[in-house]
Subunit: 145 residues, 2 copies
DNA sequence: CAGTATCCCTCAAGATACTG
DNA sequence: CAGTATCTTGAGGGATACTG
């Protein structure tokens, strides 16, 4: 890709940061409450040097922070920053699309529910601030300089 | 990654399909109305063999379809299928996250607006079917077998 | 124009061993 | 436990030439 070229598209910049094989899965694990190096490693079955590299990059990108463990253990833990936390809609959108199209009827999968009530989530859908749902063709990209 | 391992997580499956350097950018172009090989190539500045490969994979994944051009030209065009079209929330979520965190105040960027009214889009946010906004920690993943 | 066919090269990725 | 260091491999990617 063009690393040197100035990327004015926010999609491109996001993809540059989190659009690789491991980053999004690490982030998914973080949303599931995983905090420790060895737990990421076991769950994702990723080589340790790769995991180490990716975690460092995510810390660098201010998506994760590496802080003293909250439970009193001697080690550090990786937790989402506010900026990383804001990736939640992306994770949910990826999850919902996968649920819809990538599983056969009878295949085991998993769904996201509200913790207290067990309520299902609505399908995420872009809308205006007034609450009107928008199809892709009802939108356009405006450049701001 | 573990190609052979059965992936029960919808996020993982989605990432396997569209979580690479080019796929999401190709899809973004498709949402912007790009249909022709050479236009993808010019806009993305990607090697032709790579583009060829990625387009084929996206057609294979039923995200794009390669059909006779609608404008009467002799060539084929790549357009989003319904399944590809359903990626719109993911693109918007990526865009909004990038807009929020990856641009300095004064940097040129772009935003998505409603075509007819110019209205801004609301920040996408997961919610229940009853319309209640949900934070990540208010959700849990339930396995379905 | 819309690709395919080669060639080459870099870097991501994995395995393994080692360290504080 | 939580990494770093080293080595090897292979896939992803780019440049170029060629084809219907």
């Amino acid at each position: 890709m063009n690393q040197d070229k100035y990327e004015a598209c926010p999609v491109a910049r996001s993809v540059q940061l989190i659009g690789d094989r491991w980053a999004l899965l690490i982030i998914r694990e973080a949303f599931d409450g995983v905090k420790r190096f060895s737990d990421f490693q076991k769950n994702l079955n990723v080589a340790k040097n790769i995991l180490s590299d990716r975690l460092a990059k995510l810390v660098d990108a201010q998506i994760l922070k590496n802080q003293p463990a909250s439970n009193g253990s001697a080690y550090l833990e990786y937790v989402l920053t506010a900026q990383g936390y804001a990736l939640f809609p992306i994770i949910v959108a990826l999850r919902q699309w996968g649920e819809q199209f990538l599983f056969a009827e009878d295949q085991p999968h998993s769904i996201l529910l509200e913790k207290n009530t067990g309520d299902e989530l609505a399908l995420m859908q872009p809308m205006t601030k007034k609450g009107k749902h928008l199809l892709a063709q009802e939108t356009f990209v405006k450049k701001i300089n």
